[in-house]
Symmetry: C2
Subunit: 385 residues, 2 copies
């Protein structure tokens, strides 16, 4: 089960009263070693939440003992009081675990601006309770405690050559940008030096969470953390490890996409024969962020005109009259003009594949996104987050 699947990890998830529903809202993941390697990547939003600012400092030496995560409040734009709360959270966990507070990361998710006295006392109480509830079977409890608008917990495991990687995720968004805060904790019992952990994590997130673009809105609190315990005693082959880590991240990213707020279609936008990978990503993102395209897919309308109009807003190399668009296997646009009748496209299945062929180079990239639905508008207008 997720973060406790590899050897050397304990986790817990408890209810501390942060969520009005009374559901679990504080999670703790602890690395029991023997190695205490940690690496993390953070939101690129320039407005960063307090836990992000704390964790960026704490992870800088490559040593991480534990991660405390809370839902029910983002502790963002809560000033120096809020930063102190993140600091106190780390100290509370550290004291209970007998480690240094500087080796404890903190993640928060929920409404921006939430971080008052009441929030602080509940997070600290929850941290103590979670430390008392730690277990090598606690991965699923932790995964449940970080859920916000998620309808299901997200977990994944990969094993190879004697080592294991486990991960949990929450959010219906992505590293940058993010619809809701994306929090991910990944654990492994492989032996990794801090520099390796950092490099592998960046390689894997670049191909997975960075390519998930649910609604183009970038969170202030996104964080992906990798902890390595070395408890397997196995030094992994670099390439094999990155392959499995990327596979696990893609798995979690697909789970996030599938549970995106209000989505009724999981859309993979594949851009082929671009002049560069950057071009392919820019085109994929421009289409993924186009509300007219997203509402068309919701309406089961294979509207290739909106795809081309979105491509036209990019700086990518392309000829408007040299683009093919294929939706769910039917080429509806060929060389910038109508091809097969749109009636031939079946958009009833949830899985949707949009292939954009630019015919200018060899680069390719796939962006994962979802449609824009009534349920999205409802969720985001009726509830604060």
């Amino acid at each position: 089960m997720s973060v406790t699947a590899p050897q050397g990890f304990e986790a817990a998830g408890v209810a501390a009263g942060l969520k009005s529903t009374g559901k679990p809202d504080v999670a703790l993941v602890v690395n029991k070693g023997p190695q205490k390697t940690g690496a993390a990547v953070f939101t690129s939003n320039r407005a960063k939440a307090n836990p992000i600012m704390w964790s960026q400092q704490a992870v800088s030496d490559g040593v991480v003992e534990a991660v405390v995560l809370n839902s029910g409040g983002a502790n963002c734009f809560t000033g120096s009081f809020g930063f102190q709360t993140s600091h106190l959270t780390a100290e509370t966990a550290a004291e209970r675990l007998g480690v240094s507070a500087g080796d404890v990361l903190v993640c928060s998710t929920g409404l921006i601006g939430t971080g008052d006295e009441r929030f602080r006392s509940r997070v600290l109480e929850g941290t103590v309770a979670a430390a008392d509830a730690l277990s090598t079977e606690g991965g699923s409890d932790a995964a449940a405690a970080i859920m916000t608008t998620d309808t299901v917990p997200k977990q994944a495991v990969r094993s190879r050559d004697g080592w294991t990687i486990g991960g949990m995720a929450k959010g219906a968004g992505m590293l940058a940008p993010g619809l809701a805060t994306m929090l991910v904790v990944i654990t492994t019992d492989a032996e990794l030096a801090p520099e390796q952990a950092d490099r592998h994590l960046r390689a894997a997130t670049r191909m997975s969470f960075d390519r998930l673009d649910s609604d183009g809105a970038m969170s202030t609190n996104d964080q992906v953390t990798l902890l390595a315990s070395g408890a397997s005693g196995v030094v992994p082959d670099d390439e094999a490890f990155v392959e499995e880590l990327t596979s696990l991240c893609l798995d979690l990213a697909a789970q996030l996409m599938h549970d995106a707020e209000g989505a009724s279609h999981d859309i993979r936008i594949e851009v082929a024969h671009a002049a560069s990978e950057d071009d392919a990503l820019e085109v994929g993102r421009a289409v993924a962020r186009n509300n007219l395209f997203k509402t068309a897919i919701f309406g089961n309308d294979p509207n290739w005109g909106r795809v081309l109009a979105a491509i036209g807003t990019t700086s990518a190399e392309f000829d408007p009259y040299g683009v093919d668009v294929t939706i769910n296997g039917v080429r509806v646009c060929s060389q910038g003009g109508p091809d097969r009748p749109r009636e031939e496209v079946d958009l009833v299945p949830r899985d949707t594949h949009v292939l954009i062929d630019l015919f200018v180079g060899d680069a390719t990239a796939t962006i994962m996104t979802n449609d824009l639905t009534h349920a999205y508008v409802h969720e985001n207008s009726a509830y604060s987050s």
Copy 2:
């Protein structure tokens, strides 16, 4: 009214069967002179429709005799056949009017990919019928014929110092980007040289249509045209003319905002004390394009956290802990932290004012946008455009 308010102009709007509803769908605006000055600005989308490509050529000498506009089909991504259709439309109008085809502009709006034989024959028949129906009272008919998802025609008139400016607009979008194609024709009986017309038009659109950002989606067909007949015999003061032209464009832009697809709030995002006008515009646009902010306003939720999170995605100069956000007169965020309770903000009125104070410089800019609603999703998923 509108384009026929100034002296020296005739217009018409007729039904040519392009719209399935049978409503008017071809408009013609003719400059009877004595001057035939014309200027135009076009979408910055790199995927440009055939009428755009035609009109860019035709306007380049600063002489414009007439503009033919059709709804019911965008004639975009319709290949060389589509370009020929735009050319034939200009020729048909020119023949009927006894002028050169190279002095006739063409605008189209509707579904991308529409531009077959049937479309061509109806546009050409409509052009002939419109030429036969020309009248100095035809402004309102023309304004009605360019409507697509618009619920009301948009017209405005300004007069000063013996000259008059009239304008009509359609679309629920903007020059760049655009939700739906924005087509605008502005006429004046002031005496203007082509270079003046071009300069004044750019000055006015920069402060008006360019700052209307409905849903961040840029159309392939946007065009704003200014025709000057000189029929008043008055050479206007440059500053006075730009002032009135800008006022008229802002009036039309506000009408477009008010009629934006599915909108329930007209939102003005004012960015104050930015380091530069570019910074102010970048911040305003980032907020205007943030779906989470737009759905929050739909839900009458003064969610300043989403405003700050959107600002964080920009490259503008700002300190996250040095920003105030005031919504409808209530300062809900002060120096990057909570201020007045959100309950004090009344978001029931349609007119919504968001003031973002960056406290770093002297520049200011206002972006006009609207909220993201169920009706927007419905309109754009249920109907192709």
